[in-house]
Structures are given as structure tokens and as C-alpha cells.
Symmetry: D2
Subunit: 308 residues, 4 copies
């Protein structure tokens, strides 16, 4: 019963796939944070898994959005470490918040952009200690096709040509397969945003190929598709009854397709308190990003600049 | 496989329950609006169905939140007609918006209250044509227990004692069993708000017994519980296989309980565009309520007063 | 005592300036709407008045944001007529909402963009009656320099190169000299946005010279600078006393400069209910713009598309 | 030229009033925070100054809303100290956020209430270290008369009778005389809210007399009336010219009255970035209040409970 919709690479890797040719998986734990690094190294592995070739880091923490200050600090440091490793050493960075600011579960990108320390326009204004130590950062949440009439990918291409950053960081709300991942996993990848991914189902991708510069994508699952829940429930029921023969599974698939193409099509599953969770996750991501982009600035000074 | 969570009386009435003793059901269609009226007339029927004794009107329209001006007008007129019928002829009315304004799917009550024509404080200020023709209306969205520390029902009891309205209208976001009902059905009932109902699972009810005045409740389904989707999927699978014996169903129930008490517990299913839908539905409900409460004022004058 | 800050051309034209060489002023009234058309025709007049050469239309209505349906309809029709006249007959239009969405008085542009009928991406999807009748419209509120790190004018130049519209319409919140103009005047001009103008004091202009296509600017005064109020009060006091000699005026100017450069520098005067006024004005402007851009679509169909 | 509108007691006390009979004024500085304590001890002094008898503490800090972490910490500690001193030692506290949440400059009360640690409903749920150490706190922002149809004071009286707190803390946005006070002074008083005060001009007061329990009012100036600016400008001009005879001042008063009763009537002066300032000030006030109300809980635990 493969084929569930997920934007998390780690959910595509089955128990035995770690030993698949062309895929490297390593996991380690720091306190109650799990750090998983997946490298898809060959085109054939990429095709098999339906993901782009490159690196995928996932940080998992079961109470990520509400955890106390010390743990948030640890998480944002680990995030900053991986993002910095994937970024070019020098040059400006453009942060793009994807998604629709008017759709709670899809507004993560916008909320992160609102919390970024934007410095590109300050170069001349900065004197004293920080002079020459700030990386140039610009940030925009351009809005979705339905609201602007302009494809996000097109719009970003125009921006990149104009702003000429060394890299783009794209922030997006993701769909997961397991409801337990909602708001508890951060995925960082150097493969950019793939077409069809995200809560918003981006029509075009944002990748090195389309934008001409390296694209780091950072995302957190915000929803599970309702059809995934239905499919999963059926699959659990089938699994508990060895008696089912394979014809049952076919029938389940047919049933599922009816359900998904029917009324469940556009429905998503979220925690009831999703509005608050989005803000908490956005603030954590912004913290990690600001650290990654401004390593010369300590946390307190960052907070002061941002009036947080 | 009874026992699904729903706040809609019409979803509790099975195909044959219309002929149940103590229950009257009548349905008629006007254009593509379906008007269903259920009267639960005996205590025994009330207990069997798990609903209070009284009247439940449901207006259904498959594209309710986005339908064009003429159809919205028809819907709000039908709504106004039923609400006016259930209200006392004279006396002030207090409109209470239940739910949490910070939770998109639970904010319906707050959004309706924001759109009410509030007149209680205007009595002396009004002269000319409208003098003596406005019903006194007050409106409040008091916020949920978790944010105020005060039970909504307690708070309303205090308010009612103070404001002394002839009736209360309570607006609430509901949970349904069928996803197709989300944002497509309006339930109007003279039984008030029952404990445990609504997206917010109100701890205490708002009824004639607790508040001392008639309580009309108006609600629209905004979510289906994720566990309902899972349960429904299993149940469909079982239904397609006559071969299942009753032990299967027991096992399915056990499985379901695990699922629901586990990670699906707090999860809700909504359309992706729920933020916009809530605003559209709120504006329709407010229109119907304002008409019901101020029959002497024509629609254009109402809009002018409300600067809509 | 010239030199007050205002973005309204009509406030630069003194009582006798109508007869100034190179300036044409004509005024007519329709009901209680005043329509003023100023044409600055020579460079020398432009320099004298400190405005660009071109046309400035102002629609004034003393209760513009709260007037009843019929009057709003008349206003939006007049607006649509003048905008259509200034636009090229054919080709796509890009609507740009200037200003900072997080600053109430500066959010007008953003609020208008949110209410635009965006069609550029629909061309293939539209069939039936409207096929071939919709003008391609895209719309964006890119955010201010302080939030994005990118000059709005730069960003727009990039967008225009990419989207290639036949014209740009820029919406902006203005500063006036007279408090009575706040939210009661709509200025439409084919001279674009001048550097230093608007509540946000745009650093660079958006004009035909900088963007390469015609730029129509539409704005409504949202604030008066507090220093204007102070200056105006002093000036009224001086005017009431013929006894003042010219040295008094010099002293008043010195005093004023102290005041304005001191604590009043960044302060603005607004009506207390500015939050609501911005939304009402935005909805009126969007109505006028949508009519101007889609003359083939009647008002009701427009409203349906926009789910208003 | 007395008679300017201000809600700050310290602005009513002239340079020599400190020596007025029945008034005690003491000032001390801690770093760049100025702490002023005014006690109005006799009815005659109260009448002369147009303030209630009681204590007024003002904390002033010129960059209060944007100052860095350490200074904010010092401010919130000083605030907590004075509030705790004025509160009864034991018993529940009801926090009431006054003002209109839809009017940026008047939304301070609402924004503070949103950030309060509400505990009244948790008594049974709390175990472990904190058991028995939390003061019962409830909090509500009931909304203004124009939106609810119910006088805030009436509504609060009903609430107090029901919730039976030992004291009420009322939070409100104030009007000042000097623009430099906007967002830079915190006033704490045990005299409650007086009729006519606040940005919202409360019709009825919230005092021990009307509510039956002690009322501590906490407020920060958010606006200066535009007519105050005009009056102040004229007064400065007059002051710089000894030549004016007293008839000039009368004329200035007449002029001012025309101005204030005319178009400046409802206009307020605010910094352009008022939206952000309100949020920053609200977060500071909530911090001080939460400390005052829960002295047994350290700052980090407080933040954790509030998910800030």
C-alpha cells in the first residue's frame, strides 16, 4: 500500500531502505531530539524513492512547538548548524516564504519571513562592533498564484536575477503521512522545493535548475491529507486480519480511490490548535535561520534587533 | 457501528428513525436548498437519540459559503424565518458567540458577533423612521475557559442576570459526522447548547435550565473528527465484505479506539480553505440573524448601519 | 508659510493658481461628489508646484468611507471612468499595493490588492460567456524596504520585466495638509509615485522613467503629519493678528522647525477609528479598480468571483 | 492655558504643585528609569487636580517599547513590585482589558489580557512543585459599548459579583498631553478607572465604589489629542512673544475651541509605528503583571506556561 502523499524524505525510506544502494541514512540522538541525515546519491535511488538527489536532514522532537526554552535553544542551534553547512560560505541570501498567508496551515513560510533579521539594506548604516559582520539577507513572502496571478517560481526567478543572492532559502508548510509528525519534525534539504510539494501543491519547483542558485528548503509538516488517514485506517484493519487475501487489498484500493477522489479530496487533518502551533514553529524556525545567517551576532543582540 | 461524534441532529436520525415514536421529521426543498425540521417530542426518543427534546431545523445547500447573491439572500431569509418563529415576540435578545477566536475552525461564533447590529445602547439615540422599531440586541464573544479562567456558561449566567434579555441566541461551530456537511448545513434549535457539544467541547451547557431564559442555538459544522474519518473508512471496508463475521467488527472497534485515543485524539479534518469559509459563513449567519432580529429594517439600511 | 507636506496635487494649487500659466483646473459636482481635474502642462509649472507634469483627478466626498450603497456605487463608477481613460486600451495590468501591511495607516495598498480580481493565471480556465472578455490582471503587495531588504521600486522593476504588463497601477496611502481630507478624497494620476511621497516616504519613485511602462497612481490621504497641525495652528494664530510683523513669522518658522525636528518628527494625526476606515476605503477603491479593469463583467458577477 | 486633556496624574502636577497641600510627590531614578510616586491625600487637592484621592506611580523610560532584554526585565520587576504592594495579599484577581480591539491605539488592554497567565480554572489540575502556589487569576477583554451594547462598567459589575475576586486590575490605553510620553510611561494607580478617561473615553468609571472591590488601573499613553498639539503650538508661540497681551490669549483660546470642536475633534496623534509599539508595550505589561500575580513562579517557568 505505498503511494501515500508525504513531503518528508524520511517517511519514504522504509525499514530496509537504509541499506538500499545509493542511499545513506544515519541517525543520532541528542537528549530527546532525533537527528536523521539521508543522502540520496544516485539517480536510480532518487527515482525509486521519488525524491531529488541530495541531502535531507530531519530534526524530530515530540513536543517541538511547546518545549521549554533550553530545548528550543538546542533545536535552533542544531538547525543553524545544518543550514550553515549547506549554505555557500559567502554572499547574500534571499529567504522566500512560500504558501498562502490566509490559510492557517499554509502560512508557515509567511510567518517565518516576518521574523527574519533583514539586513541587505543596512550595509551602510551599520557601524561599531557589527560593521562588516552581518551577512546580507533579504526576505519576501510573495503570495500564491491564486492571489497574485503570478507563479511563485516565476516571481522568484525574477527576484533572484535582480537581487543576485548566493543562495535562496525557501520555507514551506509540508504534508506528512503520519499525524504524529505534524509540528514535530523539521526537514532541511539542499534539493530545493519540488513541483507538487507542500500544503499548497506548488505547480513549479524552486531548484538550482529553475533559479540558477543553490536552494535550501526548510519545512515542517502542518497537515496530513484526510485521504491518508482513511487509507491508513483501512490498511491497519487489513493488517490485523491475516485472512484477507490479495483481492481484499485491491478492493480496499478501489474504495480508497473513491473516497479520496470524492469528498475527502481537499480535506486536511490538523491539530485543533493549529493557529497557535504555526506561530510557535515559525518563531523557532526564524530563530534557527537567523543564527545560521548571522553567526557573528549573539542571540541577545539578535532579539534586540528584532524587538522580540 | 453507531457512536460517531456529531452535533447535527439530522445525522442522528437514521433512514427509519423518521418513523420512530416521538420523532417528527419533515423535509422540503426550495430550489437547491433542503429544509429539514425534526421535532423530538418525548423523553424516551430524546434519550434514544442522545439529543434534547425540542425542535431542530437544518438548512442545507451544497455550496453555501460561496453561492451567489440571490441564493445567499434566499438562505438568509429562510434562516430569519425559522429563528423569528422560535424567538419570543418581544423583549431584548443577547447574542453569544461561543468558541475560541484564536482557533480558525472554532471562531465562527466570534466572527458572527462581530457582524451583529447591536442596538441595546441606542434606544434614546434613534429618532425618525426607525424610532420604536428596533429590537434591543446586545452581543458578546466572551472567550473560552482556557483563555479567561471563567466557564462560558457561568459567564453567560452572570450576563443574563444583568442584561435581562427575553432570550439568548448562541452561535457555535459544530462537529459533523459526514465531511460533506462542513460549511453546507445550518442547524437552528430551541434546545440550546448541550454539554460536550461544539468544536470546543463545551463543559457546561447553555440551556433554559442553566440560563433561565429561552436559548436558541445556531451552528454550522466546521470540522469532522479525524477519528470519525478513520472509523468510517474501516466501516466502509467491512461493509464491502459480507465475509466479515461479528468478531471482525469488535476487533475494528478495538483498533479504532486505539487510534482515536492515541494520536488522532485531538485532530480535526477541515477543508484547506477553512479560514475563508469561516468568514463567508459568518457573514451569511449574521445576515440571517440581523433580519430575524430587526424585521422592521430593510436589508440596505441594515448594511448601511453595519458599514458592510 | 508654504512648504507643508502634502501628497495631494489639489492642496498645492492656491486660489489663484488655477490661472497660473501651464496649469488647467476644472471642477464639477455630481450630487455631493466633487470632481477636480488638474493638468500640469509645462515643466515650469511642474517645478513651481513641486509636482510631476501630467494629470491629477481628485474625487471628494465628505463621508466617503461610510456613505450608503448608492453613493459608493456612484463614486466607484466615476473612479472607474477616470482610471479607464488613463489606462492603455489593451494589455495586461499589474496592480502594486505599496506600503507596510503592519502599519494601519500605511496598509491601504495591501488591503486593496487583497480585494482585486486577479485573472492573469485564469486565461485558459475561463470558458463560456466571459471567454476572451477578461483583461489579464496580476496584483502584488511586495512589502516595504525595512521588512524585505529590497527597495520597492527595484522589486517592481524586476516584476515588470518579468510579467510585462502594458501598465502598472500603484495604490498608496497619502499624507494630506488638511485633516478634513483624510479618507474623503481619492487622487488618480498618470504621473506615478514620486520619490518621498506617501505615508511611507518612498525612497525611489515608481514612474514611467523607472519602470518602463505607464504608471497610474491611486491614493487616499490617511494621515496628516503632526508637525503640519502645529504649523497650521501657529499660522492661524498669526493670521488673526495683523499686528505681527514679518519677524514674527520667521520666529514661528524657527519654532516650528524645532518642534518638527524634535518630538513631532515621526508623529501622524489620524481619526481614532482609522483601522475600520482603511478597510472601508480599500473596499471602495478595489470596487472602482475592478470595474475599470473588467468593464465586460457586471458588478454582481464581480462580487461572486470575489466571494464578497 | 490649563485644561489640556491627559490621563497621566504626573502631567497634572505642575512644577510647584509638589509643594501643594495634600499632595506628596517623590521621584527616584534607577538607571535610566524614572520612578515617580504621587499621593493625593485630601479631597481638596483631588478636586484641584481633577483626580481621585489615592496613589499614582509612574515608571518612565524613554525607549520603553524597544529597550533591550535587561532593561525590560528591570522595568517589569519594578512594575511588579508596585502592583503587588497595591494588591490585597490574598484572594483571586480579575484582570480586565478595556478598550476596543479593533482600534490599534485602543487595543492595549485586549493585547495584555491575551498574554496573561490565567489560572483560576487550573486549581485542581496543578500538582507537584506549583501546587498551592498559584494565585487564582481570571482575565477578560469584554469589548466596548458600541460593539456589545453593554456598558463595560455594568458588564464588569456582573462579572465581579459572579467571579468574586479580591481585586480587579484594569488595563487601559491612555491619552497624554506631551507626545514624548507616548509608549514611554506606565501609570499604576489604586484609584481605578475614572469616567471619561482613556483613549476610549469610558462613560462610566471602574472604581471600588462601582465594583465593590479594590480596582488597580494600569495604563500607558498611546495617543495625544490633535487639539492638544494645536493648542500647545499656539501656546509656545505666545510664550515666545512677551508682547502678547492677555487679550491675545483669549483670542487663542477662542481659535483653539473652533479648531478642537471642528475637524480636530476626534483626531489623535500617534507614532507611525503604533501597531508594533502596542504589541511591545502589551508584552512588557503582561510580563510585569504575571510576575506581580505569581511571585512563586520564576520567569522561565512563566514563559513556558505561556508558550512565549
Amino acid at each position: 500500500m505505498r503511494g501515500f502523499r508525504t513531503d518528508l524524505a524520511m517517511e519514504c525510506i522504509g525499514e530496509n531502505d537504509g541499506r538500499m544502494d545509493g542511499v545513506q541514512v544515519s541517525t543520532h540522538r541528542v537528549g530527546d531530539i532525533t537527528h536523521t541525515r539521508i543522502r540520496i546519491e544516485t539517480e536510480s535511488a532518487a527515482e525509486l524513492l521519488g525524491r531529488g538527489k541530495g541531502e535531507y536532514v530531519t530534526l524530530e522532537c515530540s513536543d517541538l512547538p511547546t518545549c521549554e526554552a533550553r530545548r528550543r535553544d538546542a533545536l535552533s542551534k542544531m538547525m543553524a548548524h545544518d543550514i550553515k553547512r549547506l549554505l555557500p560560505r559567502d554572499g547574500e541570501v534571499l529567504v522566500v516564504g512560500l504558501g498562502n498567508r490566509n490559510v492557517t496551515a499554509d502560512a508557515l513560510g509567511t510567518r517565518v519571513v516576518e521574523r527574519m533579521l533583514v539586513t541587505r539594506h543596512l550595509h551602510q548604516a551599520i557601524t561599531g562592533e557589527l560593521q562588516g559582520k552581518l551577512r546580507g539577507v533579504s526576505a519576501i513572502a510573495p503570495g500564491v498564484l491564486g492571489l497574485t496571478g503570478i507563479e511563485t517560481a516565476e516571481l522568484c526567478r525574477g527576484l533572484v536575477q535582480h537581487v543576485q543572492p548566493a543562495a535562496v532559502i525557501a520555507i514551506d508548510a509540508l504534508a506528512a503521512y503520519e499525524t504524529q509528525r505534524i509540528c514535530t519534525a523539521i526537514q532541511i534539504t539542499d534539493t530545493g522545493i519540488q513541483p507538487g510539494s507542500g500544503v499548497g501543491n506548488h505547480r513549479l519547483g524552486l531548484t538550482k535548475e529553475t533559479l540558477g542558485v543553490k536552494v535550501i528548503a526548510v519545512g515542517v509538516p502542518m497537515v496530513v491529507y484526510a485521504s491518508t488517514i482513511a487509507r491508513d485506517a483501512m490498511s491497519r484493519l487489513i493488517d490485523s486480519y491475516g485472512v484477507f487475501d490479495s483481492s481484499h487489498e485491491d478492493a480496499a484500493q478501489r474504495l480508497l480511490r473513491q473516497v479520496a477522489e470524492g469528498f475527502l479530496g481537499d480535506m486536511v487533518v490538523t491539530p485543533r490548535e493549529i493557529d497557535e502551533l504555526v506561530l510557535n514553529v515559525a518563531s523557532l524556525l526564524a530563530d534557527g535561520l537567523n543564527r545560521a545567517l548571522q553567526p557573528a551576532v549573539d542571540a541577545e543582540t539578535l532579539h534586540h534587533y528584532l524587538h522580540i
